[in-house]
């Protein structure tokens, strides 16, 4: 929600009226929001006019140290001309500095610039469908029905070479298609682990060959190749949560739990539960933002090979999203698989 009033003129410029006692936090938040929007439009400058009618010049530009993160790294550089705004502007700059330092955290999100570029290439000349959309539709259809990779290869080849007009941007095989999607954030991290589960070969142990605790090797030699002894697959949830809010239909569902609480004391959804109320009362800041997500974690060991391989156990770790309406919380496509842990007993 914008705290100050930002008026947009016909030529696309923003004008804001800033009081001397402006809410600095709110103003910074607004500046980030507007800056992001301007960045999407390929613009860099923002004119801000003070209450006395004198223009204050705000230049919103990308932070030099974190180029490429299109989402949130902006600095409003304030070159000020109104005299009575000076102290406030200094304060603003200080606050901005802190904000930018805080936002230099590792970014989990997909590369949006790549997404924009790839999603605007049409499938073939004058096609209504984009190439990326076509790839997604085909792969989604194939994976829903559990077809083999050989089938996908053959179908993509047929479509590309025989059915669609030439030239077209459809990938020619499954490998190429899934590589395109990987760059857009539909991927997972493969993490090697100690065979006895003492540690993961990541962070400070990334270049180690043996487990420091038990000395077992990270890889085993099979023929001429090195095969990791134990593999953990991690599917990051943050890009998926971001994507849910970026999707129009799903973004409104994510605040369902606030607008649809029962007022008659009956429990129809977990929002009416004792635990939920306890959390709301304990962390008021968290509860005041309806977008914040309440997650549940479900896990158990399963054996994917049924009786044939009874010494195997796989642990999928799944997140449930309780912001959604109750009939969607446990739906297959709203469950978020986060980890797959393989283990031989």
């Amino acid at each position: 929600m914008l705290a100050t009033t930002w008026n947009r003129s016909r030529n696309g410029d923003f004008q804001v009226e800033v009081d001397v006692d402006v809410d600095i936090d709110g103003f910074i938040h607004d500046a980030f929001t507007i800056g992001d929007m301007l960045h999407d439009e390929g613009r860099r400058e923002l004119d801000i006019i003070g209450t006395n009618g004198e223009p204050m010049v705000h230049t919103i530009q990308e932070h030099p140290q974190s180029l490429g993160n299109a989402n949130n790294d902006f600095v409003a550089r304030v070159g000020n001309e109104g005299s009575n705004h000076e102290s406030e502007v200094e304060e603003l700059e200080e606050d901005m500095g802190i904000m930018v330092e805080a936002s230099e955290e590792p970014q989990f999100g997909p590369d949006h610039s790549m997404f924009d570029e790839a999603s605007r290439v049409p499938l073939y000349e004058r096609a209504a469908l984009f190439g990326l959309a076509a790839t997604l539709l085909i792969l989604n259809c194939c994976h829903t029905h559990g077809t083999s990779n050989a089938f996908i290869n053959e179908m993509l080849y047929l479509l590309k070479m025989s059915i669609l007009p030439q030239p077209n941007t459809l990938p020619s095989n499954e490998y190429e298609a899934s590589n395109t999607l990987k760059k857009l954030g539909f991927s997972y991290n493969v993490i090697h682990a100690c065979p006895k589960g003492h540690m993961l070969f990541r962070g400070q142990y990334e270049n180690d060959q043996n487990c420091p605790q038990c000395g077992l090797a990270q890889y085993k030699v099979v023929g001429k190749s090195f095969v990791p002894q134990k593999v953990l697959r991690h599917f990051p949830i943050i890009p998926r949560l971001k994507r849910m809010y970026n999707t129009l239909g799903q973004a409104s569902l994510m605040t369902w739990h606030v607008n649809n609480r029962s007022g008659d004391g009956m429990v129809r959804h977990v929002t009416n539960s004792k635990q939920w109320r306890f959390i709301d009362e304990k962390w008021l800041d968290f509860a005041s933002e309806p977008h914040n997500i309440h997650l549940g974690l479900a896990t158990d060991g399963i054996n994917p090979f049924v009786e044939k391989h009874s010494t195997w156990s796989t642990w999928p770790v799944t997140f449930l999203n309780y912001n959604l309406p109750p009939w969607l919380t446990t739906e297959k496509h709203f469950l978020m698989l986060s980890l797959i842990i393989h283990g031989e007993e």
């Binding site: 991290n189 949830i237 971001k242 809010y245 977008h291 914040n292």
Partner: protein, 116 residues
């Protein structure tokens, strides 16, 4: 075998959850203000769902043997049953009853033990 080392495997998950709880991430909401609304998204892990053996692995506590109950812990009442030839846990649940409940005085139905 997962065994006692579940926490090792949960590390990458935990980092994400801690980022989501302490710092938050900037997210664009497509449903408000024509998709120009940005906010700091935070998330909380409310509860975990699993069966009793998996609970022992997730939390890292004993769920078998003499002290299987997580609430009574060292005070768990157990007995070797000769008929079933295994441990049985019982009797202790009468402590949750009201003080004047007739079951507390009923020693006949509960192995000759009163729980007052």
């Amino acid at each position: 075998m997962i065994g006692d080392n579940m926490d090792t495997y949960l590390q990458p998950l935990l980092e994400e959850l801690q980022l989501l709880w302490h710092e938050g991430v900037w997210v664009r909401d497509a449903a408000n203000y024509n998709g120009t609304f940005h906010f700091k998204l935070k998330a909380i892990l409310m509860w975990c769902i699993h069966d009793f053996p998996a609970f022992g692995i997730m939390v890292g506590c004993v769920t078998k043997g003499y002290h299987a109950c997580q609430i009574c812990d060292p005070q768990t009442s157990f007995r070797q049953s000769n008929v079933l030839s295994k441990h049985v846990y019982y009797n202790q649940h009468r402590q949750w009853l009201p003080l004047d409940h007739p079951f507390r005085e009923n020693s006949v139905a509960f192995d000759g033990i009163c729980k007052t």
